[in-house]
């Protein structure tokens, strides 16, 4: 089914009643996909959120008179006179959202966790009036719940014109307690330090960070398209500052990405002799830590004015810096004995493989191009500084140089995200974002399905 990705997971630890509840949540998630597909259109930078013939300037002009035009939860259409008007999501999809909302109410009736019921009922209401703040606050203040469940318009990546409109998505899973406990310890070890902040920046302090690793059963909408392996919500900086944020790692999606992309890429682009030093287990752990570090770092790099200042370039810097800062922090973890050298190397290797993955993904789905641009910046930077050697489509990393590079790149990205202007950020992207750094490996990568 389009816009949906299902994962096989073992649900035997759920009670009969919990299984019924779980199915209700999955049914609700499934109904999100058609709404997402009506928003998605990668032929236009504004997807289906704005009329195709409307220019950026015309939309901005209309928004000055009617701020709802640039609301996160409206479609922009033309009325009979040609004037731009805003249609709220909850009116555009009234019938569909009513069915989803009812399923959430039914699931709430089945839950024995009062706070989870409260969250579901509040979310059911949010879908019908586009007021999501209340249900997000309940989600942030309560839990951890047994079920990992998110539904609604959340990510703005489809809107490449203004980075404003939220696309529908949902996921359903349940907590892996053991792995969550281990991840929690890892998170605490990272967060002991206090990063020095650039003067003049509007750094947001995130009060707390919840963490969970889920066995996910379904992705629907944007998340099915992007196949995230982790996420850190909410996106609203003000909410994050007041109530903290929650990080979820999707075990099912990570396993699928590791086997389908990261590992085959490792085998395709690295020297055969070099490959022998790393077991599949080392690399999987590296991939898990890579995404954990990335998501934790998202809480450390929020600047109140960054989205307004960097506009459509913001997601490129936000996503890339979260990867780079996460790896940079590993240097200290290694020195503290939290991980050994091989584990640290595996994280670096998996970061490089993830860079290739984003490029491959962007060819299939242009909506993830901002990730691919970030990946190209990192890869070009590594190559230019001599941290990667290449010959005949085979590469060898120099880990010591890679770490020096990561520190330098981290310093630059911090600058752009904290205080840099749009023009400076654009210039930096133009200098480092050539995809040739990946294209050179095309012949080795043809075995990976996306290039076929």
């Amino acid at each position: 089914m389009k816009g949906i990705k299902k994962f096989k997971i073992d649900t035997k630890e759920l009670s009969q009643k919990e299984k019924v509840l779980f199915k209700k949540l999955i049914s609700a998630a499934e109904l999100m996909a058609p709404l997402y597909l009506k928003q998605k259109n990668n032929k236009y930078p504004g997807a289906n959120f704005y009329p195709y013939d409307a220019t950026k300037e015309e939309i901005e002009r209309a928004a000055r008179k009617n701020p709802a035009i640039l609301s996160s939860y409206t479609f922009v259409e033309r009325d009979k006179t040609g004037k731009l008007i805003a249609i709220p999501y909850h009116l555009k999809f009234k019938k569909e959202l009513k069915s989803i909302s009812e399923l959430l109410e039914e699931a709430a009736d089945l839950s024995e966790d009062k706070n989870f019921s409260l969250y579901l009922r509040s979310r059911a209401k949010s879908l019908l009036d586009d007021n999501y703040e209340k249900s997000e606050i309940i989600w942030l203040k309560t839990g951890p719940f047994k079920f990992g469940f998110i539904i609604g318009p959340i990510e703005r990546y489809l809107d490449k014109l203004f980075f404003k409109k939220c696309a529908y998505q949902s996921w359903v899973g349940f907590l892996d307690e053991q792995k969550t406990k281990e991840a929690g310890k890892f998170k605490n070890a990272i967060l002991t330090g206090r990063r020095k902040i650039l003067s003049g920046s509007e750094k947001a302090e995130i009060s707390k960070l919840g963490i969970r690793i889920d066995r996910t059963a379904i992705f629907s909408g944007l998340i099915a398209d992007f196949m995230f392996t982790g996420t850190n919500l909410p996106n609203d900086v003000k909410l994050m500052e007041k109530y903290g944020s929650k990080l979820t790692i999707f075990e099912s999606s990570l396993e699928s990405k590791f086997k389908g992309d990261h590992l085959p890429i490792f085998k395709a682009v690295f020297d055969k002799k070099f490959q022998k030093s790393y077991s599949e287990e080392d690399l999987y752990k590296g991939s898990l830590r890579c995404i954990l570090l990335h998501e934790i770092s998202h809480s450390l790099i929020r600047y109140r004015d960054a989205e307004e200042r960097l506009k459509d370039l913001f997601p490129i810097f936000d996503e890339l810096y979260a990867y780079i800062l996460g790896i940079k922090n590993c240097g200290t973890l290694f020195l503290k004995g939290v991980m050994n050298q091989k584990e640290l190397e595996a994280i670096l290797i998996m970061h490089i493989c993830r860079n290739f993955t984003w490029w491959l993904d962007s060819m299939k789905n242009p909506d993830v191009k901002h990730y691919a641009i970030g990946a190209a910046i990192a890869q070009n930077f590594f190559l230019k500084e001599g941290a990667m050697r290449e010959k005949g489509g085979i590469s060898w990393p120099n880990f010591t140089k890679l770490f020096i590079c990561i520190n330098e790149l981290s310093r630059l990205l911090e600058y752009y995200l904290a205080v840099g202007s749009y023009e400076e950020a654009k210039e930096f992207i133009e200098e480092y974002s050539s995809f040739n750094v990946f294209k050179r490996f095309s012949s080795q990568l043809t075995k990976i399905s996306k290039l076929k």
Binding site: G184, K185, F186, K187, N188, A189, T192, G193, R194, R195, K196, K328, N329, G331, T332, L333, F334, L335, K336, G337, V338, Q341, L344, E345, F399, T400, F403, N407, S410, R411
Partner: protein
């Protein structure tokens, strides 16, 4: 004759190990007397080896004590240090490997940073060199709190 490895522990850490040791011995005796539900053969073996391990630790334990006042400006085991490293300000306590718990700011004396900082003073900049990561670490404060007096 090879020297036996010393285990550096705080008083609290040693007490914890003694308690676990006594509990395991109790459990083993209960098994012999058939006073507790039977456990698997592999688990009995594991129990036995754990008891031997704890006995060895207790026998070779060396208590971490704060140094004399005139030497408290030098980093030793048990010191809580404030450092600037990798663009961050960080604070942690140096402990023996058995008590290391980086998620609770307890760092092993055998870790690269632990080894590099031992014997250093406030104001010193220590370059920690490893085959993969090289960082300069500036020591800004040393204190000896919450450990037993000599």
């Amino acid at each position: 004759m090879t020297e036996e490895k010393k285990f550096y522990l705080t008083k609290e850490g040693l007490e914890k190990i003694r308690k676990e040791y006594e509990d395991l011995k109790e459990l083993k005796l209960a098994q012999i007397r058939e006073e507790s539900p039977k456990i698997l053969y592999e688990d009995i073996n594991f129990l036995g080896s754990k008891i031997i391990e704890f006995e060895n630790i207790i026998k070779n334990a060396e208590l971490i004590r704060p140094p004399k006042k005139e030497k408290q400006n030098i980093i030793d085991l048990g010191a809580t240090v404030l450092v600037e490293i990798n663009g961050e300000i960080d604070e942690f306590r140096l402990v023996g490997t058995l008590e290391a718990d980086p998620s609770n700011r307890k760092i092993s004396n055998e870790s690269p940073i632990g080894r590099a900082l031992l014997g250093k003073r406030v104001g010193e900049i220590v370059v920690i060199k490893t085959p993969i990561v090289n960082h300069a670490c500036k020591i800004t404060k040393i204190k000896y709190n919450n450990i037993d007096k000599p």
